[in-house]
């Protein structure tokens, strides 16, 4: 049931990305291009996507806090609260990559449906970047370490 439930969630998420236009890198870059504001060519759509998602998630999470999940014993809320160097450095690196192409992980994976080689290459590079990180910080080599537990209870 867990697998089926998350299939449904991935499917709804993918439809959200598709309908909102956020699978299109040009639309995402159109939002990030704030210097297009004076000329009237700025596209604020991404802000509306986030605002709508936040309203629904905020209300839904308030409900979710009151009860255990249907197919698990308990909710796994992220435990990390530190605003530390890895958070900032990682966010800067991610932001640079996002600004270069206009794809973040969700839309990149959803765009695999187009079977276009630049997208496939991007997702492979993304996987390599992830594995390089895990090897560098020894997560995959020490599965019982607290850092792996922390990683698996990640923010996202």
């Amino acid at each position: 049931m867990r697998a089926l439930a998350s299939l449904l969630c991935g499917f709804v998420f993918g439809w959200g990305l598709f309908i909102s236009g956020m699978m299109r890198p040009d639309k995402v870059l159109g939002f990030l291009d704030v210097f297009a504001i004076p000329s009237g060519n700025w596209d604020p759509s991404l802000a509306v996507v986030m605002a709508a998602a936040l309203v629904v998630t905020g209300i839904g999470y308030a409900l979710a806090r009151r009860r255990p999940p249907a197919f698990e014993t308990q909710n796994q809320w992220p435990a990390q609260t530190a605003i530390d160097r890895p958070l900032i450095a990682g966010s800067v690196l991610f932001g640079v990559g996002w600004g270069l192409v206009g794809l973040c992980p969700g839309p990149a994976i959803a765009n695999l449906a187009t079977l276009t080689s630049p997208v496939i290459i991007f997702v492979i590079a993304m996987a390599v970047g992830t594995v390089v990180h895990d090897l560098w910080f020894g997560r995959s080599l020490a599965p019982a370490s607290p850092s792996l537990a922390a990683a698996n209870a990640a923010d996202g």
Binding site: G10, A52, N152
Partner: protein, 141 residues
Amino acid sequence: MANFTPVSAAIGGALIGLSAVLLMLLNGRIAGVTGIFAGLIDPLGTDRGWRATFIAGLIAAPLSAVLVGYTLPVPQMPTSLLVVIAAGLLVGFGTRLSNGCTSGHGVCGIARLSPRSITATAVFMGAAIVVVALTRHVFGG
């Protein structure tokens, strides 16, 4: 603002929120694509089953959209493969280091009013805005 599509943006955003809420109500998990993807490709990763089906659903959605008559636009990507590879590496490494991306920090984290996620989102959005400004207005002409 000729490119602004507020209605489809609001509907799509609400669906993304609905997905995040359902994943918490059903499986007790955060709908963060970074964490789901990384746990799936980690050779020693746990809970591979639900991670794989989430990713499968994510890819199946645009395919089903085509089946019901929508056109799936081919994403406009940089012509330089070097840029595509570099950006992919940065996104993969960076999101793993900061433990989240637009979904995990940007939606699920901010919805929890987590200062950590609000900071991450401000930083990656700021960095992306700087890069787009440089590539489009300084070097891109």
